[in-house]
């Protein structure tokens, strides 16, 4: 049967326009809630557009109109058949102090895996540099780390000028962006079934272990703690959070012990993935500021004891935050 295209368009187009305007309204405003009569009207328009699409499929209709109708029906379909809860407007503070730590705890297993891989890297790096000190330029390919630790400590403690003066802001910005990129990359590499995340974390661990072993062996443990702890107490856990997100992604892709489809598994974790990596990003802003404005200053400018105490306090606060924050809210929600 062939459609009378013009008549069909003249009769039906007003309903398509109405459906399109309803869809625009819904999609523009995430907060928009329809009243019952609006819902009924929306459903009626959707069914009408679906019927029109069915008709035009059997007619020698113009293909552009069919595609338009398909697009319209697809948009309406996505609103009508969506069963996931429509989220309320994001409250950033609540998201950070409640949702983020709750998500971290709910997905704790990949975090422990992330810790284990990093520790393995640390052990490897530490042992490797003790067995073969000549491998230092390969294990720690950074100019500041290549020299003898004792020599560096002597230079830092006797420095007369502030080498970061006029550059602290840009240094902090560079650190924030670089570390966030590392965390994102560690997370994103989860898409390689976790192999990339493992390599990234292990490599970070190797550098950390090699630096630690090098300074401890040179008798500069206090300097090491005073230098690394203030920013490392937040920076290292943030990279571990990136690893947690990466392994979470990998576990959804692999799907061990799950009967769900890959799509369903990924759908389940995507919100948690974003929460964890965005949370890590915020923590890294703080770590960048501390590294630029505090970590680079040593005794006698800032006593090591003070820096170590500051770093230890940060680590304790972060541990309490991630393990406790949002617990009361979760209990209330459960009740």
């Amino acid at each position: 049967m062939i459609v009378d295209l013009k008549r069909f368009l003249a009769e039906e187009r007003k309903y398509w326009t109405e459906l399109e305007s309803v869809l625009n309204r819904i999609e523009r405003n995430a907060e928009y809630r329809m009243e019952l009569p609006e819902v009924l009207k929306f459903h009626e328009l959707y069914e009408r557009a679906s019927a029109d699409l069915a008709k035009i499929e059997t007619f020698a209709g113009e293909p552009e109109i069919r595609r338009f109708l398909e697009g319209l029906v697809a948009r309406a379909y996505s609103e009508i058949h969506e069963t996931r809860e429509k989220r309320n407007k994001l409250n950033l503070w609540r998201w950070f102090v409640v949702t983020f730590p709750q998500t971290f705890r709910r997905r704790i297993k990949p975090f422990w895996l992330s810790v284990a891989v990093t520790i393995a890297g640390c052990v490897f790096g530490g042992v490797a540099i003790r067995i073969d000190p000549d491998a230092k330029p390969i294990l720690m390919p950074f100019p500041g780390l290549k020299e003898d630790p004792s020599e560096r400590v002597r230079k830092e403690e006797t420095a007369k000028n502030d080498r970061l003066v006029g550059h602290k802001g840009t240094f902090a910005a560079d650190l924030m962006t670089h570390n966030t990129k590392v965390a994102i990359m560690t997370m994103a590499l989860g898409v390689t079934w976790g192999a990339g995340t493992t390599i990234s974390l292990f490599y970070n661990g190797v550098i950390l272990g090699a630096v630690g072993a090098d300074y401890v062996h040179a008798g500069q443990t206090v300097f090491l703690l005073g230098w690394l702890l203030p920013h490392g107490a937040v920076e290292i856990p943030s990279i571990l959070l990136g690893g947690q997100a990466g392994f979470l992604l990998a576990s959804a892709l692999i799907g061990w012990g799950s009967r769900k489809t890959r799509g369903a598994r990924l759908r389940e974790i995507s919100s948690d993935l974003v929460t964890i990596i965005f949370g890590a990003g915020i923590l890294l802003v703080w770590a960048g500021i501390v590294e630029s404005f505090l970590s680079q200053y040593h005794q006698p400018v800032i006593p090591y004891a003070l820096k170590i105490a500051f770093g230890a306090t940060e680590l304790a606060a972060l541990t309490i935050f991630l393990s406790r924050s949002g617990a009361t809210a979760a209990k209330k929600e459960a009740e």
Binding site: E62, R87, A188, V274
Partner: protein, 260 residues
Amino acid sequence: MRRARTNTLPLRTPEGIVFALPLAGPVSRLLAWSVDVACIGAASEVLGKLLNSIGMINRELAQATYILAYFVISIGYGIAFEWFSRGQTLGKRVLGLRVMDEQALRLEFSQVAVRNLLRVVDALPVLYMVGGIACLVSRRSQRLGDLAANTIVVRNPEISQPDLEQLLGGKFNSLLEHRHLAARIRQRTSPRAAAVALEALLRRDQFEPLARLQLFEDLAAHFRSLVEFPPEVAEQLSDEQYVRNVVEILYRSADALTKR
């Protein structure tokens, strides 16, 4: 068994409506991405100029702000546009593309964020090589970010009605002399063949002369095989005129044809 690659996303609604959304290929996506890169570059340039004026007061603050702002723009551009513009960055809008959920459900913020954050892997080692290869080999033209976020990129055509008045121009249609045969050709012509014939007429001036002759010869032969008009009618017409007359029969309303 590995499922074959497709250029459409078939959907079946619970109402029993079956249709397919056209998937965007790697080339159109690459072009959209090029537009987006240009937009990010332009935004950074404007930002740099603005911060230059702050630099006169505090150079360090201006530089630090630029580093952070560039990072936020390059990471946040895709997320912000795709979230607030229903799956369309500026590049996708120009190329008529749209990001959609793989099951055609509502696009969630987390999906938009995941597909954009995973660009760091898709962009490896240079010029989106990993993403491009993934796009070429995946069944639904998905890069790794799309696979992880359960998203697809579809072509998003705008509605446009064919200008039948301009096309057919009220010329005499000898095939209409035989109304029962005209009705039969309306009944026997498939939607696809009708659409091809209409498209051929709309674009007739864009073809090379030889290609135009060949195309209309093939189309006329197809329509002649469906219904046989008397030789005195059919043989007087050129292939292109024959197709033009058939298209008028197919697309004009029955009332309009009777009046003529």
